[in-house]
């Protein structure tokens, strides 16, 4: 059985050309994607490193026109907000993850929960801010660190739920069965054995959530609101690093721009370290104690 004609030479040349062109385009795309990343890091270092001094980490913002101020209150404020948010986000996230992995596996309810967690994850952070404003700030009639913490805490939940479930699912069933076989009550087995085995992974999941939430600005715009002075009162507005960066970036003062770059560098370093740590832990095999 013969083809009506042999494939033409021109066709063959075109195919080879298309093949090489596709490779070239793919390589170019990769370069174009990596380039902004490199550029951003470069500029952060270039513009931010020179501004990082002791003052940055110890002083509050100086009045306009004066130099020597810092973002110490914003760093501390972010820390407080992170702590508050984890009070809300970590227990609920881990609890939901435990439910999905240990009690609801495969059920329709579990699927709905997972789906809803994804939905929550996709809600724009500014909308989250509006909701918390409406829930807490309006009735209280003032901005507060508490409301900021709640907003950030809610945002943590989907990430922590998903990673907790994934890590728990990786614990072999043999371990659960061994515990039950010894007569250990289920709640104990889940907490002291299963969760403990998966704890490196669960902790890194929480760290991922922290890293994401630490950089959020929008939900804090009308909850934590920001503060130029030292404050550790959770019922008062509080400064946060991303918020401060945002305000400074939009200001007309060079001195504040300088601080914005420095603050961004600090933020990026913290986030990159967390992400790298997460990758390191998960790639090394999280469940060394499992088998």
């Amino acid at each position: 059985m013969a083809l009506p004609q042999k494939p033409s030479k021109a066709n063959y040349i075109w195919r080879m050309f298309a093949n090489h062109a596709a490779t070239a385009l793919a390589v170019v795309s990769t370069i174009l994607v990596v380039a902004p990343l490199v550029a951003i890091f470069f500029y952060l270092l270039y513009k931010g490193a020179s501004s990082l001094n002791l003052n940055f980490f110890t002083k509050v913002p100086a009045p306009v026109g004066e130099t020597g101020g810092g973002m110490a209150n914003a760093i501390v404020g972010s820390g407080i907000l992170l702590a508050l948010s984890s009070l809300l986000g970590v227990p609920i996230g881990i609890g939901a993850g435990i439910y999905l992995s240990e009690f609801g596996r495969g059920g329709r309810l579990a699927n709905f929960v997972r789906f809803t967690a994804d939905v929550l994850n996709g809600v724009p952070s500014i909308v989250m801010g509006i909701a918390v404003y409406s829930l807490i700030v309006l009735p209280q009639k003032h901005f507060s660190a508490l409301s900021g913490g709640v907003a950030l805490g809610i945002m943590m939940i989907p990430t922590i739920t998903r990673t907790t479930e994934e890590m728990l699912l990786m614990v072999p069933n043999a371990i659960r069965e061994a515990a039950l076989g010894l007569g250990v009550p289920n709640w104990r087995s889940v907490l002291a054995i299963t969760l403990k085995t998966a704890s490196p992974g669960v902790i890194t999941g929480c760290m991922l959530a922290f890293a994401r939430v630490a950089g959020e600005t929008a939900p804090l715009l009308f909850t934590a609101f920001g503060n130029q002075f030292w404050s550790a009162n959770i019922n008062q507005p509080i400064a946060a690093l991303p918020l401060q960066i945002y305000v400074y970036a939009l200001s007309p003062y060079d001195e504040w721009h300088r601080l914005a770059w420095a603050g961004s560098l600090v933020l990026i370093v913290l986030i990159v370290v967390s992400v790298a740590l997460v990758r390191y832990v998960t790639s090394r095999g999280v469940l060394k104690g499992a088998s």
């Binding site: 990769t30 994607v33 990343l37 939901a96 929550l120 500014i126 739920t161 991303p242 970036a249 986030i271």
Partner: protein, 310 residues
């Protein structure tokens, strides 16, 4: 064996975990409720016309969200036009062409893009990207493509195009990593089938991988869209914050998320606040729908549901 006591604590424990899971429902419902309730004023006053009117006059209490919807849509579409080819290109490179030793580091780098906070993107965009646009790229575009009407008018640097570009950089990682996931889910036997017919590597990628993964790739694009629609801080810093509808991409604009970010704290009366919250409600509903569709599409491919003949 004393089962009685531990059975109760077991039961209680299970209920506690269930409550944690159900809290997620409660939170979403609560958000929806608050948004809905606090926007009642403008819902009642303007009804659906709120979304097609082009007015934003807080002083006189006249509100119409059309410019913001336009700004959100256009900046997102520009972002997709720029990001999708690049993201798919990176995905193809990393999955099918990249030498093994490069794959890990490059994948890590693209994931790192996803970890950069919005405010840092915004800062970089304001001080680095916008000047480049204003001084080099926009004049070039005005000269070569000005006849289309999309690249005309005063060149501020900031504006719709700047917002689209920074959004593109921000949604790239998610489109790319999901595309890589669905491409990897295509069975190796499909690749072999195409190669055995005498195909070049690109033809194998096109026919054996991309074609099979296309539903999932569409899903990842829609997910990127969802992210772009809701992005606030970086966009606010470069879009220009003017509630106008102009054809030129070099013109200033305003997005739904940006107007909320800028004007919420200044909202002096309840009607103003209600208008802003209603915009938030619209954003909430739209992003939920978009994300749901996207997740379903990606889920269909990675869970092995066979794709249909289109």
């Amino acid at each position: 064996m004393e089962r009685g006591n531990s059975a109760m604590t077991d039961h209680g424990f299970r209920w506690l975990m269930l409550i944690c899971a159900l809290t997620i429902f409660a939170i979403v419902a609560l958000i929806a409720w608050e948004l809905f309730v606090r926007s009642q004023l403008t819902i009642h006053k303007f009804g659906l016309s709120f979304f097609v009117k082009q007015a934003w006059d807080p002083v006189n209490g006249n509100f119409g969200a059309l410019p913001f919807i336009y700004g959100t849509l256009v900046s997102s579409i520009v972002a997709l036009i720029i990001a999708v080819p690049l993201a798919v290109g990176v995905a193809v490179f990393l999955t099918e062409m990249c030498p093994k030793f490069l794959r890990g580091p490059l994948a890590f780098l693209t994931e790192l893009l996803a970890a950069i906070p919005s405010v840092v993107y915004g800062l970089w965009a304001v001080f680095i990207l916008v000047p480049i646009l204003r001084n080099d790229i926009n004049p070039f575009l005005m000269k070569t493509l000005g006849w289309t009407g999309f690249f005309t008018g005063p060149n501020y640097g900031i504006g719709m195009l700047a917002a689209g570009v920074i959004l593109a950089i921000m949604i790239l990682p998610i489109i790319s990593s999901l595309t890589r996931e669905v491409m990897s889910a295509v069975p190796h036997t499909q690749r072999e089938a195409v190669l055995a017919l005498g195909a070049t590597r690109w033809e194998m990628i096109r026919m054996g991988v991309l074609r099979n993964a296309r539903i999932g790739i569409v899903g990842s694009i829609i997910l990127g869209l969802g992210r772009a629609l809701g992005e606030t801080i970086a966009v606010t810093m470069v879009i220009g914050n003017r509630p106008a509808i102009v054809k030129s991409l070099l013109g200033l604009g305003y997005s739904m998320a940006s107007v909320i970010a800028n004007e919420f704290s200044e909202a002096s009366d309840d009607m103003y606040l209600s208008a802003l919250i209603e915009i938030g409600l619209a954003l909430f509903i739209v992003t939920i729908i978009v994300n749901a569709i996207a997740r379903l599409l990606v889920w269909a491919v990675t869970r092995g549901a066979p794709p249909r003949v289109a």
